[in-house]
């Protein structure tokens, strides 16, 4: 096609830059000293410093910000591993060796995502209270697993459906079992898609606020919960708050950019249709 889109393209780029500006501002301010951070709009020429980050990690207060980050990492990584362990076989049974009425099963998975989470939150809280799992990170691992499982199964199914059936039949004729088939035949084709799915699960768990807010406290509080209190208590120290926001966002930004391309592909492989 002829390149007739230039004016539109320029507009799109302008809009895109405007769109990403708040994040650019967040990063820039996090690298300023507090007096420079207070100027608005932010000065582009102010000297850069890591003071905000040092303060966030407790340089002057001595209060470490590591525990919530570690909590978030455990909850996100733990639940992602569990999701993969459950979703790969499930997706296998929905694509490569589909059960009868597999579309109904898919619909069941999806239906759990259509329900308002908050409607079932009270019993989830009461159960934790009863068995002593309040403020315990392992409870979040379980809940995040069930939260992400439908999306993972959904995406993974489309990635596994990509594996050519002839190769699978050949493998079956050679008497390969599930593990061998998965490792030698499915994994090479579907691995990038599975990786993208894992990254998405990681992102959703890392950013989750509602469960974490209700079910955790001082011990198991996650990064978003900590950030909420940080925003309200440290609102005046803008560089520090921005540094905190950057630190909390970095893992998900990295994961998201890594997964981005594969996600477009995964969503387009009939996952939406």
């Amino acid at each position: 096609m002829k390149r007739t889109w230039q004016p539109w393209g320029a507009l799109a780029w302008l809009a895109g830059i405007l769109f990403a500006l708040p994040i650019g501002w967040m990063v820039l301010t996090s690298l300023h000293s507090e007096p420079d951070a207070a100027t608005n709009p932010p000065s582009l020429t102010a000297p850069l410093t890591l003071q905000g980050y040092r303060e966030f990690f407790g340089a002057s207060t001595g209060q470490s910000s590591w525990p919530p980050l570690v909590n978030s990492a455990s909850a996100s990584i733990g639940s992602t591993v569990l999701v993969l362990l459950l979703a790969v076989p499930a997706a296998y049974a929905l694509s490569i060796r589909p059960v009868r009425k597999w579309t109904d099963v898919m619909f069941f998975f999806l239906s759990t995502k259509m329900m308002p989470v908050v409607a079932g939150l009270l019993p989830v809280y009461l159960f934790a209270q009863k068995v002593g799992l309040l403020d315990n990170i392992s409870y979040l691992v379980v809940l995040y697993t069930s939260m992400n499982l439908p999306i993972a199964v959904w995406l993974m199914r489309s990635f596994l459906a990509e594996v050519p059936t002839e190769i699978l039949e050949a493998a079956a004729l050679d008497g390969a079992g599930l593990i061998t088939t998965l490792r030698r035949v499915v994994a090479p084709v579907a691995a990038p898609g599975i990786a993208a799915t894992a990254l998405i699960c990681f992102i959703f768990s890392w950013n989750e606020l509602l469960f974490a807010r209700v079910l955790t406290g001082v011990v198991a509080g996650t990064a978003p919960v900590y950030l909420t209190s940080f925003v309200t208590s440290q609102g005046l120290f803008l560089a520090k708050v921005c540094a905190a926001a950057v630190v909390v966002s970095l893992p998900v930004l990295a994961a998201g950019f890594a997964a981005q391309d594969k996600l477009v592909q995964g969503l387009s492989l009939g996952a939406v249709k």
Partner: protein
């Protein structure tokens, strides 16, 4: 070439290929179900069971303290919900949020998707990353950033617009601000979904139409958009069902449902009943109604989408 095959004598059993014994066949047949079972069980236990328990709770009056007993009150919680103006007002605000988010979750992503479709590889990845970034940033982090951007004194937004609004603390503008910030963070994801939908459209149709003399606008209107309809329906469905959920972290950090409940939608109201007012019965009853309403809306939209979607195959 012909090979002579001896016909089986009538009455004798047909020759059989060696089949594995019955036990193993049953195991092999059950295998895919076994692969599904753990996942299905987990979802049953952690999403459907809590909902069933919510229904049960909605018939009791209780303040969440283990030391105080739960008293059965029949349908009185539902009666209270209907008598109080909260739920109706929150429902209206929820509709406002949904309608307000549709441009961000459907209209703009389609425009961006169509415009960037022709951008070449590397530039496209950079562009997508730029639009995707707000989706990735933790909602609480974006709340922190926007709180400062919307600051009544020194905020950039007021400077650029030449206004002196206290965006998050005035009843008129708070809801608007929440919608825009939520839209800002949802747009990247929706654009990704649209890009995926566009990538899945077979280019042959467009080329054929172009050979027949169709203009770019005509191709977009009569070929691309109809083929994109399943994606669009999916995005509308997501927006209707999840909008209130998306706003939660922002409302919780920025306005706590205020000022004067102006940003309290059904989702936040439910959280407020259960975990601020500690009124378990009322919260549960609201949860049941919310669940029923969302279920009806979801079922209706799914049926509508089957009618409206235009499929390639």
């Amino acid at each position: 070439m012909f090979v002579e095959v001896v016909a089986p004598a009538p009455g004798s059993p047909p020759p059989r290929a060696a089949r594995p014994p019955l036990g193993r066949r049953v195991v092999a047949g059950a295998q895919p179900y076994l692969y599904l079972a753990p996942a299905l069980a987990l979802l049953g236990v952690w999403t459907y069971r809590p909902l069933a328990q919510t229904v049960q709770l909605s018939f009791y009056s209780w303040n969440l303290l283990p030391s105080t007993p739960m008293t059965p009150v029949g349908l009185r919680n539902y009666q209270r919900l209907i008598d109080l103006p909260d739920l109706g007002q929150a429902a209206v605000r929820t509709v406002v949020v949904i309608v307000g988010l549709l441009p961000f979750s459907v209209v703009i992503p389609v425009l961006v998707g169509l415009v960037t479709r022709q951008v070449r590889d590397r530039a496209r990845v950079v562009y997508q990353a730029m639009v995707f970034a707000p989706t990735l940033v933790a909602p609480v982090a974006s709340a922190a950033v926007w709180q400062w951007l919307l600051d009544p004194g020194a905020g950039v937004v007021n400077k650029v617009l030449g206004t002196r609004l206290n965006w998050l603390h005035e009843t008129g503008s708070a809801q608007f601000a929440i919608i825009v910030i939520t839209g800002w963070s949802v747009l990247g994801f929706a654009t990704l979904v649209v890009s995926a939908g566009l990538a899945g459209i077979n280019g042959d149709y467009g080329e054929a139409a172009q050979l027949d003399g169709a203009s770019r606008g005509q191709i977009t209107r009569w070929i691309t958009l109809p083929l994109l309809s399943p994606t669009l329906v999916f995005l509308v469905l997501m927006t209707v069902l999840l909008s209130a959920q998306w706003t939660f972290p922002l409302i919780d950090t920025l306005t706590q449902g205020g000022p004067a409940r102006a940003t309290t939608n059904v989702y936040y109201l439910l959280w407020d009943y259960s975990f601020h007012s500690y009124d378990a019965g009322l919260g549960a009853a609201a949860g049941v109604l919310l669940f029923a309403a969302f279920g009806l809306v979801a079922a209706g939209l799914v049926r509508l989408s089957e009618r409206l979607s235009f499929h390639d195959d």
